[in-house]
Symmetry: C2
Subunit: 191 residues, 2 copies
DNA sequence: TTCCTAATGTTTACAGTGATAACATATGCG
DNA sequence: CGCATATGTTATCACTGTAAACATTAGGAA
């Protein structure tokens, strides 16, 4: 890979890969364009040919992470349908956060609102899955307000749980053991 | 305040105040020691006499913010006791997050785990309030596991809701209108 | 094929950052 | 009064994101 040809071939992809690798080891703020460039074996400013700014690189990474999250959620839910499938997407959400803390954070800092009216979430994305399962559980007679409330509630639950564990506010192993109890009551209550 | 005496008087407090002010306008990463020093009218390195590193300053700010949050929660809950008081602490939590986004984030990034066994939360702190109200609601016959599950659930709910709104993942006004619906069911379900 | 334009990389440079070390001044205690 | 110590300052370093000017190459038009 130590080609000394002037042109790299596919620098953009290489930069994204390296940045993702660095994200597994350090926070987004610690991620340095120069370090990425160094590791890829290219001058610091070469990155700017593909990303106008660091912010834009982070956005690309967030986009990548979002797709990955949705993918893992779908994979988890595939093994079981309906209500149990929904719970599985929740578990997958928390698991993803724990496995890729920095990437997870990035997704929510550097990305447009997933659940805002003007943002249409693509099929299979985390936001789409959430709305899909909630809509299915509540049935067609539910009002938009009811749907929104349930979506918000379910999302807040898994998101808050993920963040509290990630930030070390709560003892990790104990909290992990509680994931099911935290998620499950939401189903039992018929919500 | 433009005293040109060599010594400032109470630089530590001035730095904290200025930093808190800057935090109302920008993220913690954007907060620069040099800018703080400049605004206070002191050389950049003077700050290091009071805070060994930027990290330490942020910790102090987080500590301050945590106290402020607890204070506002207690004030909100004072107007009504018991279950309604508990709900008020939840509302106060979200309100605080929305009013002081950067300080709120700081609290959870730069602070020891509030709910870990080894950390004893002082009376009146957010974590103490949470455990207090939950314990009261569940009664003395509840097992530690049940208490922990309920604490985690309630906390995750308000924390997740706060974060999703702060990160703009959800339309703010719509979400604010939903706060009660999101918090309330937790009470109705007897949890 | 040849040529030239656009895409891609490099070098150089600048302003801003957190941090350390060496030096300056004032405060308050004996 | 005198001096140790707390507190501020200046100079400097390594690092960052980013812009501008320059170098090289790839790929289509002639």
């Amino acid at each position: 890979m130590t080609r000394q040809s002037y042109h790299h071939g596919d620098l953009r992809a290489a930069v994204v890969d390296e940045a993702l690798a660095l994200l597994e080891k350090g926070s987004p703020e610690d991620l340095s364009l120069r370090e990425v460039a160094r590791n890829v074996g290219v001058s610091a400013t070469a990155v700017y040919r593909h990303f106008p700014s660091k912010e834009d690189l982070l956005k690309a990474l967030a986009h990548h992470g979002l797709a990955l999250l949705g993918e893992q959620q779908r994979k988890s839910a595939a093994r079981s349908g309906g209500t149990e499938g929904f719970a599985q997407t929740g578990r997958a959400y928390v698991r993803f956060a724990l496995n890729h803390p920095n990437l997870f954070r990035l997704i929510f800092i550097h990305s447009p609102g997933h659940m805002r009216p003007e943002t249409s979430s693509p099929e299979g994305s985390p936001a789409w899955l959430l709305r899909h399962y909630i809509g299915q559980a509540l049935g067609p007679r539910a009002t938009p307000e009811q749907v929104f409330a349930s979506v918000l509630r379910a999302w807040a639950l898994v998101h808050g749980l993920s963040m509290l564990i990630l930030d070390g506010q709560v003892e990790r192993k104990a909290a992990e053991a509680m994931i099911d109890q935290v998620i499950a009551p939401d189903r039992r209550a018929g919500k």
